[in-house]
Amino acid sequence: MGTAVTLVKDSVPTTRAARSAATARTGRPGRRRENLAGYLFMSPWIAGFLLLTAGPMVASLYFAFTDYNLFNTPRWIGFDNFTRMFDDPRWQKSVEVTAKYVVIGTPLKLLLALGVALLLAQSRRGQAFYRAAFYAPSLIGASVSVGFVWRSLFSDDAVVDRAQSFLGFHVGGWVGNADWVLYCLVALTVWQFGAPMVIFLAGLKQVPRELYEAAEMDGAGPFRRFWNITLPMISPVLFFNVLLETIHSFQIFGSAYVVSNTSCGPADATLVYTCYLYQQGFKNSQMGFASAMAWMLLLAVALVTAALFWSQKKWVHYEEGAR
C-alpha cells in the first residue's frame, strides 16, 4: 500500500501539489472549504446540541418559573416553585438523603478503588484476570436485575441479616429499615468500584519506575513513597475520578427506585433527589416544580464541579508539557 501511495503521489502534477500546499498554508478558498467540511461533519452534533440540550435547557429554566402540568399553558408564577420547594419537608428530606449518599458512598468507593488498584499494580501473575473480574460489577450494577438481587440479599433473614446477627448485632433486613436502607444503596455503589479502579490502575502504570528506585535509595519507606511519589503522580487521575463519580452519584435513580420497590421508602429513607423529581414531574404532573428542582440540582452539581476545579490548583500536579 505504501508504494501505491508514493506512486500515485509522484504522478500528481507538481503544480497542483504546490498549489494545494500553498492554499493549505495561506489561501482563503481552502480555509472556507475546511469550515464548510467541519460544520457538515458536525451537523448531527449541532442539531442534537440545539434540539436536545440547549433548547431544553432554556425551556426548563422557563418552566421552573411557571405552573405547568403538561396540559395547561404554563402560567408565570415567579419564584413560587422555589419558595415552595425550600419549605417542602420532602424536598429537604431528598436533599439530605442524596447528600448522605454522595458524601458516604463516593469516598468509600474511590478509597476501595485506589486501594485495590495499588494492590493489583504490584504486577503479579493474574493481574489481568482480577482486573476484569473486579470491573464486571460496573457493567451490570445499574440493571434492574442487580437491583432485585440487592433487595433479596439485604432483606429480612437473608444472607446479610444472618451474617450480621451472627456477629452479634441484629437489625433485620436493611431494605425494610429506614435507618439502614440507604447503606444498602451505598453498598451497591461501592460494589461497582471497578470502573474507577481501572482508571487508577492505568494512572499507576504511568508513574516512572526510576522515581521509586531513587526514593528507595534515599531510604523512603512504602508510606513515604506513596505520599510523596504515587499520590502526586496520579493526582490528575484521582481528580478525574472524584469529579466523575461525584457528579454521577448526585444523579442516582434506578437503583434507589428498584431496591425500594418503586416507593423510595420506607419513610422516604431512599428518596434520592431524582426520585422526588420523578414523582413530582411524572406522577403528580408538576412539570414546573420538577423543572425548578432540576435547576437546583444543576446548580449544586455546577458548584461542586467549580469547587473541585478550584481546589485542583492546590493538589493536582500536571507534568510539565503534558497539558
Binding site: V12, W45, A142, S145, F282
Partner: protein, 289 residues
C-alpha cells in the same frame, strides 16, 4: 549478592505473593457473591430463595425457567428481549455513525469555532441529564412520539453521547497526520479520508463505543420507564419490573430471579467476549483528561 540473602529474598517474595493472592481472592469472593447467588437462586423453589444460605440447592429445579415460557401478563418474554435488542442495536448504529463523524471534525478538520464547540461538547459531559428530562418529555409529547422508541434513540443519532465523541477524538488525534496529507495530495476529500483511512484505523475505539452503547441501552431503565407505557413495547428492564408485586414480595419470586439472570446474560457474555476493549477504553478515558 550472597546466596543466603537471595534465598531469604525468595522466601519473602513467596509469602508476599501468597498474601497478595489471598487478598485478591477475598475481594473476588465478595465481588462475585451476588452473581453466583443469582445463578444458584434461580434453581431454587421460590420459598427458599431469600433465606436458604446454601449457594446452590441440593435439588435444583428448572420450573422457574420453564415458567418464563408462559410470559408475563399475556406477553411473551421474547417480546421484551426483541424490544431491548431493537433499542440496543439501533443505539449502536446511531452512536457509531454520528459520534465518529463529529469526532472526525474535532480531530482532523481545522474549522473556525472548533475549540469553542469542543468545550461545549465536554461541558455536556458534566451536565445532569435531569435538567433536560422534562422539556424533552414535553417536546416528544407534543410531537406525539411518547410510547415510541424515537425519544430513546434520537439522541444517539445526533451525537449527544459526548463520552464516545471524546473517546474517538482522543483516538483519532493519535493517528499520524501524514496519512491525511498523503491522501489529500492524491485528491481525496474529507469524506474519503474519513471513510477509507480514519475509520478503519479507529476500529478499537469503535468497538469499545459499540459495546458500551449496547450495554447501556440494555440496562437503561429511566428512559423506557418514562417513555414507554404499553407493555407490548416494554424492554427487558421494564418487563422485569412486572414480576414484582406492589408489596414487593413477588408472587412468582422464582420467576423473577430466573428472569433477572436471563436479563443479565447478554451483558455478561459481551463482557466475557470483549473485556479487553471495555477495560482499555475505560482506562484511556481517564488519562490526559
Amino acid at each position: 549478592m550472597s546466596s543466603t540473602s537471595s534465598l531469604a529474598g525468595a522466601g519473602r517474595k513467596r509469602t508476599g505473593s501468597l498474601a497478595w493472592h489471598l487478598g485478591a481472592l477475598l475481594i473476588l469472593a465478595v465481588i462475585l457473591y451476588p452473581v453466583v447467588w443469582v445463578i444458584g437462586a434461580s434453581f431454587k423453589p421460590s420459598k427458599d430463595i431469600v433465606n436458604s444460605l446454601t449457594l446452590f440447592p441440593s435439588h435444583p429445579i428448572l420450573s422457574n425457567f420453564k415458567g418464563l415460557a408462559d410470559g408475563m401478563a399475556d406477553i411473551s418474554i421474547w417480546t421484551f428481549f426483541q424490544n431491548s435488542l431493537v433499542y440496543a442495536v439501533g443505539a449502536v448504529v446511531g452512536v457509531l455513525v454520528s459520534c465518529s463523524l463529529t469526532a472526525y471534525a474535532f480531530a482532523r478538520i481545522r474549522f473556525a469555532g472548533r475549540n469553542l464547540l469542543f468545550s461545549l461538547m465536554i461541558g455536556t459531559l458534566l451536565l445532569p441529564y435531569h435538567v433536560l428530562l422534562i422539556p424533552q418529555y414535553v417536546m416528544f409529547q407534543k410531537l406525539e412520539l411518547v410510547n415510541t422508541y424515537v425519544p430513546l434513540l434520537i439522541g444517539k443519532y445526533l451525537a449527544t453521547e459526548a463520552f464516545f465523541v471524546f473517546l474517538m477524538v482522543q483516538f483519532m488525534r493519535n493517528l499520524p497526520r501524514e496519512l491525511d496529507e498523503a491522501a489529500r495530495l492524491d485528491g481525496c476529500g474529507h469524506l474519503r479520508i474519513y471513510w477509507s483511512i480514519v475509520l478503519p484505523l479507529c476500529r478499537p475505539a469503535l468497538i469499545t463505543s459499540a459495546i458500551f452503547t449496547f450495554i447501556n441501552a440494555w440496562n437503561d431503565f429511566m428512559g423506557p420507564l418514562i417513555y414507554l407505557n404499553e407493555p407490548g413495547k416494554y424492554t427487558v428492564s421494564l418487563g422485569l419490573m412486572m414480576f414484582r408485586d406492589s408489596d414487593g414480595v413477588a408472587a412468582n419470586y422464582g420467576g423473577m430471579i430466573a428472569m433477572s439472570l436471563v436479563a443479565l446474560l447478554p451483558v455478561l457474555l459481551f463482557f466475557l467476549a470483549f473485556q479487553r476493549y471495555l477495560i482499555d477504553g475505560m482506562a484511556t478515558s481517564g488519562l490526559k483528561g
